[in-house]
Every structure is written in C-alpha cells, then in structure tokens.
C-alpha cells in the first residue's frame, strides 16, 4: 500500500476542520486554566482551611489521568442536572486540569517576588486586593510567561483524548476517515504533522521568551 497523494487532498479538509476544533478547545481551555490557575495560586496563600482544600484539589488533579477526569465530568455532571456538550465538557476538563499545573507555576512566580515588596506594600497600608494587583502580580507574572506558554502547548497536544467523549478534533476526524478508507498511514501521518507544524514554532517562541525573561 503506497502513499496516495490524491487521498491526502481529499481528506485534508476534514482534518483541517478537526484542527479548528483542536485549536478552539486549546484556546478556551487555556483561558480557563490561566484564570483559574491564578485563583488557585492566590487562594493557596490564604487562610488555613482554604489553603489546604485548594492544595489537596491541585494535588489530586495533577496525580490522576486527564482522560478519567474527562469521563468524570462527562458522565457525572448530567446526574446533577448539568448537561453540557462534549466540547464544553472537554474545555472545562482541560481548563481544570491545567489550572492545577498553572497554579504551581504562578506560585513559583509569586514566591520569587522579594519579601520586601510585601512589606513595603503593607507599610503603605494598601488594601489586600491592591497589594496583589498593583505590586505582587505585575512582578510575578512576566517571569512565568514561558512556563505558562509551555502548558498551553502541552494542552494542545493533549486535546485529542477528547475523542473519548466523541469530540471530532484532528484525531477524531483522522480516525473516522481511516476507519472508512483504511488509509491509516496517510491520516495519522498528516495528523501528526499538523501538530508538529503548530507546536514546534510555538515551542521555539516560548524558548526565545525564556531566554529574554530568564527562567525561574
């Protein structure tokens, strides 16, 4: 069975359509992860009960497979009367999973802000919210941008496991096409190349950013 370029041309629109879903899931999932991760990181510096609960949740999410978490949300939410589409469930699961990872990244950035900054902000009797938004976060976040970027790229490569709940991303489309044409070599090679074409330049960009801000 040799490589069939005509078939590649035929199947490419479906794969690109899948790519659109993959990119949408990654962007929305990352948005959730960036915001929720920051919330987790700030709460981890809060009073003891909150800190402990958030810490435990983050450890739990990081220690268990994303695929099982996806199944969990997909099957359990409807029992509580929440019925969401597969893609939405996927975005929430990706967002929550990577929020756990991002919270660790933010935490490292927050801890790298010198103590004196906290003390100065307190001496100026800034309100707590202003200490975060005006003093700590503007210093913490730029340093962790490369690490956050890496997590976006990781998420991009993990979105295909949403095929487990029927999302037709790149791999979902490739599987559908392959199952009817049996041209597995073409569909999965193109699928892999599509990932590489987007993620490799993104990784190079993040590495350049890393050199500029210096990693922590």
């Amino acid at each position: 069975m040799s490589w069939d370029w005509n078939y590649v041309v035929d199947v490419l629109p479906a794969l690109l359509d899948g790519l659109r879903i993959t990119v949408v899931a990654t962007l929305l999932g990352s948005l959730v992860a960036l915001v929720l991760g920051l919330v987790f990181a700030v709460l981890m510096r809060g009073p003891a009960p909150v800190r402990i609960v958030v810490r435990a949740l983050v450890e739990f999410v990081r220690s268990t497979p994303l695929l099982v978490q996806v199944f969990f949300l997909f099957f359990v939410l409807p029992q509580f009367g929440v019925t969401l589409g597969a893609l939405v469930v996927g975005v929430v699961a990706l967002g929550l999973h990577y929020a756990a990872y991002n919270s660790e990244v933010y935490r490292a950035g927050i801890e790298a802000v010198p103590r004196g900054q906290w003390e100065a902000a307190t001496a100026l009797s800034l309100p707590r919210s202003r200490v975060w938004t005006g003093v700590i976060l503007p210093q913490a976040i730029p340093r962790v941008l490369p690490a956050l970027g890496n997590n976006v790229i990781s998420m991009f490569k993990e979105t295909p496991l949403l095929i487990g709940i029927g999302v037709l991303d790149i791999v979902g489309q490739a599987r559908e096409a392959g199952n009817t044409s049996f041209r597995y070599v073409e569909v999965y090679t193109i699928a892999g190349l599509l990932f590489l074409v987007l993620s490799y330049p993104a990784a190079l960009l993040v590495r350049r950013l890393e050199r500029r801000v210096g990693s922590i």
Binding site: Q69, I163, G192, Y200
Partner: protein, 225 residues
C-alpha cells in the same frame, strides 16, 4: 449505594495491564532518556542532530497520534500488528524518553565545570569520567523531574484504553459505567483514587532513590521539596 467490592474487583482486573504499561514504559523511558540525552551532548554533530530530531519530533506531535500511528499505520507499513500492550509500552517509552532526554542533558550540564577538569586532571578515561564523576552527581539532579515524568507516564497509560488494552480506565469505561450507570460518581471517583495511589507509590519510590543517591554523594539529608 452500589457494590463497592464488585467495582473494585472489576477495576483490579485492569491493574496488571496498567502496571505492565507503567513499569515497561518507565524502563524504556529511562533507557531512551540516557541514550538520547547523552547523545545531545555528543561531540559528533551527526549524533546530536539525530537525537535532536527524535526529541523534537516526539515532543512536537501528540501522544494519542503516536499511539494510533504505531497501532494502525505501522502494521500497514511492516505487515504485522504489535500486541496492543507492547505498542502502548513502546509509545509511552518513546514519548516520555524524548522529555527525559532533556532532563538528562540539563542535569549533566549542571554539574560544575571543575568536576570535569578534576576528572581530566586525574587522567580518567572519558567513560570513567562520566560513570564515576559526572553521572553520580547528575543523577541526584535528575530524580525530582523524573518523578514528575513518571507520574505523567502513569497518567498516559489511560490512553491505552483507546487501543483496546484492558487497563483500569477501560474497565471503568467499558464495563462498570454501562453496567452500573446510576453509580458513575462513586465508580469514577474510585478509578481516580486508583491512579492517585499509584502516583503516591511512584513518588515514595523516587523519594527513597533521592535519599539513596544523596547519601552516595555524602550529602546526608536531601531537602524534601
């Protein structure tokens, strides 16, 4: 409440496959990490380029795609099908080995230059230099990131349910959920707990290795992070 004992039994049927995939994947990951990681530091440009292509190629594509490629596309090219569990071990090892290679490279490069110079001054051969001086110090640096990598690998074994491996996730999804649908909440919580316990075991093992490797260097208590 449903029958927790039955669920546990059904999930346990998947445990051997999950364990084989995890342990096999870890062994292959360690081997590939060292081979590719040291190759990234090779004086030969050709060796460095080959290793770099492997590392970037595997890190740049998705693990699910790699799994499907080995499982569905490779048989078309070579004419035979790999047993699903071994296809899984192969993909887990190849994928995580690419990440591990960067860990090995980084750790070896983090050993202070003076250590190379000292070993050179003692006229140790290049192999002795690596084996007796550089690697024992580098390994201590590698263990914490390898712990994270192995937990990632454990979590990735759930993907093998896509290629018909009867591991824990597949047992939950294909056997328990259809049979005990009203109880998906406790069933999936139990499934997650399974992986949590395995993660904690990996971490405990790696912490023990960290202490052992630290003692070997005469460093006594290694700060537990």
């Amino acid at each position: 409440m449903g029958d927790v004992g039955t669920w546990l039994q059904v999930l346990l049927l998947g445990l051997p496959a999950t364990l084989i995939a995890t342990v096999g994947g870890i062994v292959l990951t360690v081997v590939l990490s060292f081979v590719a990681g040291l190759a990234l530091l090779s004086p030969s440009r050709a060796v460095r380029v080959i290793s770099r292509v492997y590392v970037e190629g595997l890190r740049g594509t998705s693990e699910v795609v790699q799994l499907f490629w080995i499982f569905f596309a490779l048989p078309v090219l070579v004419g035979f099908q790999i047993v699903p569990i071994w296809a899984g071990v192969l993909v887990l090892g190849l994928n995580h080995g690419a990440y591990g290679a960067e860990i090995v490279r980084g750790a070896v490069q983090s050993v202070p230059r003076e250590q190379y110079e000292g070993a050179l001054a003692l006229s140790l051969s290049p192999v002795q230099r690596m084996r007796r001086v550089i690697l024992p110090q580098a390994v201590v640096e590698m263990l914490p990131p390898f712990n994270n990598l192995f937990i990632q690998l454990l979590k990735s074994t759930a993907l093998l349910s896509f290629v018909f491996v009867q591991e824990v996730t597949r047992q939950a999804h294909d056997v328990l959920i259809p049979a005990f649908n009203p109880y998906v909440f406790p069933i999936l919580l139990l499934t997650l707990a399974f992986y949590l316990v395995l993660s904690l075991l990996i971490t405990a093992g790696m912490r023990a290795l960290e202490r052992a490797a630290g003692r070997r260097l005469g460093r006594g208590a290694v700060p537990v992070g």
